[in-house]
Every structure is written in structure tokens, then in C-alpha cells.
């Protein structure tokens, strides 16, 4: 499977959790340990190694918080 | 320059095209129909020109908002009830500082009213029927030649101040035929429309045409900027004509076609040895307050003659500040004042004033 990587622009996240519902490998979670500049728990990834770079999370994010990279064969 | 015999409504259209107007958005309503009809014939013949019959006057004024925001010279026209529908749009256009020309060939009211001439839209035009603190120049031509001249100038004035300009004529101005010529205007030095939405070409920040400002401090700052603009208009754009005022005892105040009737009344009274004169506002806003404040010492009374139940009389009273009695005589509903009745009213007033 292709390797992927995601980046979260934490302070833009509004903690809506939509991205956590679409990850095929279930690694997108809310970071309950942190609060961002807006006072929300920002979304994050629990295990980056599993990321396949499908961009589902970024696609459903209403606020363009997520940037996705994928390994180019 | 040879003169052409033209119907007022058509002359207004021709003048707009002469002034470079290429876009007209209108809607049928008597007594201004010949204007959109003229534009429907002429504008498609012009490179890039467009005529659109909108689904309503509300849509038409908002098409103006779009066209003007895109940087074009554009015009719409209507009549009293249709002008009422446009008031919201005019307030937005003033708020967003967009130049355009709006013609009102007014008719009797209120409500559906009638289709005969009237001047009962004075308050609507000079106070503004939309929301918020805004103003716009209101030109009131008395002849079709003056209407042509004022429409041509209105486009420059609109661009200069980035503001809507209203040209108001009662039904007669729209329906009469008179010889007109299209003179070369003295050029105003007009600002570049760098604010227009012509596309960023990805080379500049987006231009935004907008009247919303949710932050009250920002909205107040915007209002104060508009007020400065309106002050400049009041100083530079007020216009009127004095007719035999210098030694007059009774001074009429009348505009548009009513002023032509009143001019004859002044002449008749003079023939009877009664010293009458007339101040004719050419801009209804700004109102020629100074002209009224500076009436000669001979003046004993003012008489506003209007095709309405009395609207401009308020501005006359404001201007004279109680120094002289100010009366109103008017017909409404489309009835046109006749000299005999005006003369009778004048004598009644003078009789009463020693």
C-alpha cells in the first residue's frame, strides 16, 4: 500500500470531528490532550505509519486544515 | 449642431448613449416605456452594448449594481411605483459607492395611482426611500433639451462621486416632443475605476463591491466618509435658475414643467404691475437653500407651486427659516396647475400680505 503523511494546521481546526469518521485505517482522532488557539481539541493522527495518503480526511474537512502527501512510486 | 425633434423618453436614451452608456436594465411601466423601448432598439447595435428587460424593477436595479460594480456606465429608468421598488437597491448602490444613472418619469400616486404627470416623488427622491444615511443628486429638468444635457452630465457626476444620480421628470418630460441637440460636455477629470470587479488576473488582491460592515465602528467610519462626499456635492453641484427675482415681492419656487407654467404666471403678474419672480431648482438635492435665503428685501412671501399636495414646500420653509411666509399651491393625481388658478392664489397671498 502507498505510504502517506498528513499535516494538521492545528489552530485552524474547529474540532468538528468530521475527519475522524472517514479514515479507512482509523488513525484520525481528536487530540484530547491539547487545546488550540480557538479553544478546540484539534484533530490529529494516532499512528502516522498507517496513513495511506487517501486524503479522505482532508476532503471532508470544511476548513482546509489538513495537507496530505503520498509516496510517489 | 442641428436639432432633432425627439420624444423626451427617447431623447433621454439617446443622451445616455452619447455619454457612453452601453448597458440598460429596465422594466415596463407607463409613462416611461419609450425609454426601454429605445434602448432595446439601439443598444444591441453598439459594440458590447446590452439591453435587458428584467423581471421586475427590483431585479433591474440589482443588475445595475452588478454592471456598475464591474465598472460599466449603465442606466435604468422607471416611474414612481417602480422607483419605490428600487429604493432598497439604490441604498445598496450608495452604500457600495457605485456610479449609475436612474431616470424617474413620475406619475400620480400613491399606490398604483395614475399615469398622468406628477411631482409627488419629491420626498422619495430627495430624502431617499431606502434605508440608512445616504444621498444622491437629483436633477429636475424643465425642458427636453435640459433633460438631455443633465443626463449626459449625470454620468460624469456619477463617476466623479461614485454615487447614483437620479434624473426626475414628470410624465410630460417623458411624453412631450421638443427639438434637442447633443452638445459636447466640458470634460470632468474622472477617477480611474480601479475598484471595479474586472478580474484579478491573479495579479492583484480581489476587489469587493459591498455595503456590509458588521463592525459598527467601521460602518460609522464609512458613513462619515459618505457624509463628506455628500457635503462636497452640496457645495459643488447645487444648481438653480432665478427668473425676475431681483425686485420681486412674491417669489414662486417651482421646478420641472411646473416651472414653465409658473414662468408664464410671473410674466402675466408683471403685466398687471405685480412684481413676481421665480426660483427654479434644477437640482432638487442639493436643494438651492442659499438662493432662497438670499431673496431680496423686496420679497414679502414665497409660493411653492408643485404637482403634489405639498412636498418641496418643506424645503422652502426650512430654507427661509420663518423670515417670510411660505405657501404652497398644487394639483395632484395627474392634474396640471393652470395659470389662472396660480394667479388667483398669488393675489390672495399678496392681498393678505401688506
Amino acid at each position: 500500500m502507498a505510504k502517506g503523511k498528513v499535516y494538521f494546521d492545528d489552530d485552524i481546526c474547529k474540532g468538528c470531528e468530521l475527519c475522524t469518521t472517514v479514515c479507512p485505517v482509523d488513525i484520525v482522532i481528536m487530540d484530547k490532550e491539547r487545546i488550540n488557539a480557538k479553544g478546540y481539541h484539534p484533530a490529529t493522527v494516532s499512528d502516522m505509519d498507517k496513513c495511506i495518503g487517501c486524503a479522505n480526511c482532508a476532503t471532508i474537512c470544511p476548513d482546509s486544515v489538513i495537507t496530505v502527501e503520498r509516496e510517489k512510486k | 449642431m442641428s436639432k432633432t425633434l425627439m420624444k423626451g423618453n427617447e431623447a433621454l436614451g439617446a443622451a445616455a448613449i452619447q455619454a457612453g452608456c452601453k448597458y440598460f436594465f429596465g422594466y415596463p411601466i407607463t409613462p416611461q416605456n419609450e425609454l426601454p423601448e429605445y434602448m432595446a432598439r439601439e443598444l444591441p447595435m453598439i459594440e458590447g452594448g446590452a439591453f435587458v428587460q428584467a423581471e421586475s424593477e427590483v431585479a433591474a436595479i440589482n443588475m445595475i449594481y452588478g454592471a456598475a460594480g464591474a465598472g460599466a456606465r449603465c442606466m435604468t429608468s422607471s416611474s414612481s411605483p417602480g422607483m419605490a421598488l428600487k429604493q432598497e437597491g439604490i441604498s445598496y448602490i450608495a452604500g457600495a459607492e457605485l456610479p449609475c444613472v436612474i431616470v424617474n418619469i413620475s406619475r400620480g400616486g400613491p399606490g398604483l395611482g395614475g399615469i398622468q404627470p406628477s411631482q409627488a416623488d419629491y420626498f422619495q427622491s430627495t430624502r431617499g426611500g431606502g434605508n440608512g444615511d445616504y444621498r444622491h443628486l437629483v436633477y429636475a429638468p424643465a425642458t427636453i433639451q435640459e433633460a438631455v444635457d443633465l443626463v449626459m452630465e449625470a454620468f460624469d457626476v456619477a463617476d466623479y462621486y461614485r454615487n447614483p444620480v437620479i434624473v426626475i421628470g414628470d410624465g410630460m418630460i417623458g411624453q412631450m416632443m421638443e427639438p434637442v441637440e447633443f452638445k459636447e460636455l466640458k470634460k470632468r477629470d474622472l477617477p480611474v475605476k480601479d475598484w471595479a470587479t474586472t478580474g484579478t488576473n491573479e495579479e492583484r488582491k480581489p476587489n469587493i463591491i459591498n455595503s456590509l460592515a458588521l463592525d459598527p465602528a467601521e460602518l460609522e467610519k464609512h458613513n462619515q466618509k459618505l457624509t463628506r462626499k455628500y457635503k462636497e456635492m452640496e457645495e459643488k453641484e447645487v444648481r438653480h435658475e432665478d427668473y425676475q427675482v431681483e425686485d420681486a415681492e412674491l417669489i414662486f419656487v417651482a421646478y420641472g414643467t411646473t416651472s414653465r407654467i409658473t414662468r408664464n404666471v410671473v410674466d402675466s403678474l408683471r403685466e398687471e404691475g405685480i412684481k413676481a419672480g421665480m426660483i427654479r431648482p434644477i437640482t432638487l438635492w442639493p436643494f438651492p437653500t442659499a438662493a432662497i435665503q438670499n431673496v431680496p428685501a423686496s420679497a414679502k412671501a414665497l409660493l411653492a407651486v408643485e404637482m403634489s399636495e405639498g412636498q418641496m414646500i418643506d424645503d422652502v420653509k426650512i430654507a427661509i427659516e420663518g423670515r417670510l411666509p411660505a405657501y404652497h399651491y398644487g394639483r395632484s393625481g395627474g392634474m396640471i396647475p393652470v395659470p389662472e388658478d396660480i394667479i388667483e392664489k398669488a393675489k390672495e397671498i399678496l392681498g393678505g400680505v401688506k
Binding site: - | 435587458v52 427590483v58 480581489p206
Partner: protein
């Protein structure tokens, strides 16, 4: 070697939106921005924002914008397009703006075949003003002005805008899509691109009705709103294409 496969579109400005958390207005903004960039027309686009939640859209799209009076965006867009026929013009409107106060404007823009594109966001409620009933509010759905649930007897049936506009010949492209899940978001983007292509090719008026969520005024979480949309709105507002010019099919 890692390659960026998804990033914020140049079609949107850097301004963060005011939309509520999870409101899919944000998703739709991204789709429109991405399409404008992919079609290479961003620099010659003029958009018209409505009155409603997306009233501030003029700060979010990275192109020249107009803010229109409530319901009047299609008339404003008509004026712009007639002046700039070779530019790409779109309106972005909510259901209160388009399906209530602005019905005459949208019907007549379609009727005249005005060559601009309308992005119509249907979230079955008035969001900005705090949750009132809209013409698209579903029967039985509670809103602040249908507190006992919308009652057909006194407020009629919810308005099916796409079906209505599909009866108008000037409407060259009419499609209803949704953004309640990733596959549908991708389909929505295709429809938006087709609608803009219909404009760019000069075929005529195009509208994409996009079912969208309103967690705040529906009173449910953003995630549950996606499900609510799927289970309640889609049955009444079936997705699909209602009109497409042959060549774009």
C-alpha cells in the same frame, strides 16, 4: 519521494471562515475554489455572495466579489455577465436567499439562459438569523418559526428547486448533489466543474443544488448532521442530474 496530493486551494483566500464547526459550507467553498483553479479561470472570475450564512463569502473566494442584497444575486450576476461576457461569473446562495426572497431572480436568470453558474446550498433552514424555517425545511422538522415541526397545512410542502428549474429551457445544467460523505463530495465537485464548463462553453445557465448541513440550528453534532442529512433530506430531495446539455453529458 513524497508528493503533495491534497492542500488548501488557491481559489480561497487565507481568511479563516466564520462558519460553525462542521458546517459543510466550508466543504462547498473548497470545491468551488478548487474548480475555478482547475479550470484556469480564477483570475477572470467574479462571484456574487448572498445574504445568509455565506454573506461573508466575499472574503473567502480568492477572486473579485460582489455582496448582493438578499435574494438578488442572480440579478447582480446578470449585470456583471452582460458587462464582462468573457469572464466566469457565479452566485453562491443559500436556501433562504434563493428559494424564498430570491425565487423570481433565480427563475428569470434561468428563463433568460443567463450564462453564469449558481451554487445553491440547501441546508433546510435559515442559519445566519438563528434557525428559522426555510421553504426547504422538511415536513415535521422543527425550526424557531416552525416550533411544533413544519406543518404542510399552513406552510406547504418543501420546495424542490432543482426539479422546478429543470422545467425551464434556459437552464442548461441542473444537478442536485450532496456533501454528506467523501464519495458524494467528489461527485459534487464533478457536478460543479460541469456547471462551470457549461458556462465557459457559453451554453447557458447552470445550477448545482448542494444538500448541506447546519449542526448549530439543527441542534445536533456535526458528525450526526451528516447522517441526518442522508436519512432525512435525500429521500425528499433525490440526488441526480435534472438537465444537462448533450455535449456535456
Amino acid at each position: 519521494m513524497m508528493q503533495v496530493v491534497y492542500e488548501k486551494t488557491k481559489g480561497l483566500t487565507d481568511k479563516q471562515t466564520h462558519y460553525c464547526p462542521g458546517c459543510t459550507h466550508g466543504v462547498i467553498h473548497k470545491l468551488v475554489g478548487e474548480v475555478l483553479v482547475e479550470l484556469g479561470v480564477l483570475g477572470k472570475t467574479v462571484g456574487v455572495a448572498p445574504v445568509g450564512c455565506s454573506v461573508l463569502a466575499y472574503d473567502y473566494f480568492n477572486c473579485d466579489m460582489h455582496e448582493a442584497a438578499h435574494g438578488r444575486a442572480p440579478a447582480v450576476a446578470t449585470g456583471i455577465k452582460r458587462v464582462l461576457p468573457d469572464h466566469t461569473v457565479f452566485t453562491y446562495q443559500g436556501d433562504g436567499d434563493l428559494a424564498s426572497i430570491g425565487t423570481a431572480e433565480i427563475i428569470h436568470a434561468a428563463h433568460r439562459g443567463e450564462k453564469f453558474t449558481t451554487i445553491f446550498v440547501n441546508n433546510a433552514i435559515y442559519g445566519m438569523t438563528g434557525g428559522q424555517m426555510a421553504p426547504t425545511t422538511l415536513i415535521g422538522q422543527k425550526a424557531t418559526t416552525s416550533p411544533y415541526g413544519r406543518d404542510q397545512a399552513t406552510t406547504g410542502m418543501p420546495l424542490k428547486v432543482s426539479e422546478m428549474l429543470a422545467t425551464i429551457d434556459g437552464a442548461a445544467f441542473v444537478e442536485r448533489v450532496s456533501v454528506h460523505d467523501v464519495p458524494n463530495i467528489r461527485k459534487a465537485k464533478k457536478a460543479i466543474k460541469k456547471a462551470f464548463q457549461v458556462q465557459i462553453e457559453g451554453t447557458g445557465f447552470g445550477i448545482v443544488e448542494i444538500l448541506s448541513t447546519c449542526p448549530t440550528n439543527w441542534g445536533i453534532t456535526p458528525v450526526d448532521s451528516l447522517t441526518w442529512l442522508k436519512e432525512n433530506m435525500i429521500p425528499y430531495y433525490p440526488l441526480g442530474n435534472f438537465r444537462t446539455p448533450e455535449e456535456v453529458k
